[in-house]
Amino acid sequence: MVADNTLSIRDLRAGYASLDILNGVTLDIPQGQFVALMGPNGAGKSTLLKTIFGMTQHKGGNIGWNGGDIAGKTSRHVLGQGISYVPQGRCNFPLMTVQENLEMAAYTIRDAGVKSDRDYVYDLFPALKTRRSTLAGNMSGGEQQLLEVAMAVLQRPKLLLVDEPSVGLSPAAIGVVFKELIRLQKEGLSILLVEQNTRKAMEVADRAVILRLGEVIWDGRPADISHDELGDLFLTGRMRTEHETSRHKETLSV
């Protein structure tokens, strides 16, 4: 089997127990692409990431990766296939030091390369190196978010799933986190990012995918869509026709 590092999601349906959240998502993410996943609340953005990572109930469709289908597989299996996940909110071990957290991140990897990987991550995130003996829970939100991205990098992923890294962070901290994501992409990682901060997301991503009610309703380059159009898509699920736009303008002028 040829290793194919394109993630190809076909007609994916998933949710929780009797609740259906994803109603047939189809999406390809070629290797090295930075994709921003956007949409209104409840669109299923986080659920899509969780479903790829095997944390929801799979109800149909498939997720092609590495020549196989990972839909419905366990998180440990997906992780072993080179997909890492940085969930929303704090997701580290607060009573362990930064160093210990990084050790735990590479829990599934048992080879001699782990230590040099850690040195590499310390080079990548010098802010963490100076904090290596600090308990993770005692660091600022921005530092913890960086730690969590660093933890994901240590798992040697080919695809990184990142859920709202900007929540609760200062503008400066958001800048640092996004800078690191861009750097990781330049090193060949594919990134699927869920982000409420659309302006920031559109700035960094190669491609924007808009989800509404569990389906993809728009897919294209960020440059091809204006913020107004994005707003329309979020609210109504479609763009205004020219007729509607002129009527809207008339209404405003009256």
């Binding site: 009573l95 362990m96 735990m104 590479a106 798992q155």
Partner: protein, 290 residues
């Protein structure tokens, strides 16, 4: 006067050491499962029975009986862990209370059915006293104190340096993060449970030569003495458990020596009530876990 005082302290420390070894298992199980194991004392009883059985039937020497008692208990705990404890992951607390109370009843009554309900005589161990000046203490009590220190040093090394030990800390701190880094929570819960119950069994056989009597219901009081200790130590806190166990052991020894033996068992319950009123998160920082 001074001699009696020192003897009471020494006896208190050895009682505290017994409690510490039982309680640390319970607090670690709580750490990974967020559930109180109400059957914990029953594993203490199983270990003691296992030891008693091989000594009284095939005349195994005491050290070998200790090993047999611990291993048999861990084997039983493995089965219970696979079929009951692993299912408690992510379940509401009521479920674990009912399940572990049920296990306690089953274990206790199975032992009574098989071996009878009467008291058995545990005739092994090192009960000759040693004297330091005027102060006398049974050799077994010194052995218990030494082994308690060894157990806690061992646990400290385990959770600081070993892969499984670190995973135990990780599960006790953030279960979701464990899924993200690929830690198998089910395996960690099972390992912690088997280790914790093994320690309870170890404690039971260690203290049997001093307590002398062995019976099916002996675990109950241990469970209920372990509760105030793990609350005082802070649920999930290994070092806190050691300090709390020593406090309870010494306090019991003083109460028994100065007010009468009948008041001894009330110390733990009074402590539990006071702790829950005054510092429900324990004597130490709420954040200090293992």
């Amino acid at each position: 006067m001074m001699t009696i005082f020192l003897e009471q302290i020494l006896n208190g420390i050895s009682t505290g050491a017994v409690y510490a070894i039982v309680a640390v298992g319970m607090t670690m199980i709580f750490g990974v499962l967020r559930a109180i194991n109400f059957a914990h004392g029953e594993y203490y009883m199983l270990g003691t029975f296992g030891g008693w059985f091989v000594i009284s039937t095939i005349g195994l020497p005491y050290p070998a009986a200790v090993i047999v008692g611990v291993v048999v208990t861990m084997a039983i705990a493995y089965v219970i862990g696979r079929f009951v404890m692993q299912r408690m992951i992510g379940m509401p607390e009521e479920g674990s209370v009912v399940a572990t109370l049920g296990i306690a009843l089953i274990l206790q009554n199975t032992v009574i059915l098989v071996f009878g309900g009467g008291y058995k005589f545990f005739s092994a161990g090192y009960i000759e006293p040693v004297f330091f000046g005027d102060i006398g203490i049974a050799q077994q009590r010194l052995l218990i104190i030494a082994l308690c220190i060894a157990v806690f040093v061992g646990l400290e090394l385990l959770v600081t340096y070993s892969r499984m030990g670190k995973a135990m800390r990780a599960v006790s701190q953030n279960v979701e993060a464990c899924a993200v880094v690929g830690i198998d929570v089910r395996t960690v819960v099972l390992s912690t449970f088997v280790l914790g119950t093994g320690l309870a069994a170890f404690s039971g056989i260690l203290t049997a030569p001093v307590n002398v009597s062995v019976y099916g219901g002996m675990g109950e009081i241990i469970t209920f003495k372990t509760l105030p200790i793990i609350v005082m130590g802070g649920l999930g806190n290994v070092r806190g458990t050691l300090v709390a166990a020593m406090i309870l052991g010494i306090a019991e020894s003083f109460v028994a020596g100065n007010f009468g033996l009948q008041y001894r068992d009330s110390v733990g319950f009074v402590t539990l009530i006071l702790m829950l009123l005054w510092r429900p998160h324990g004597l130490f920082s709420a954040r200090a876990r293992f």
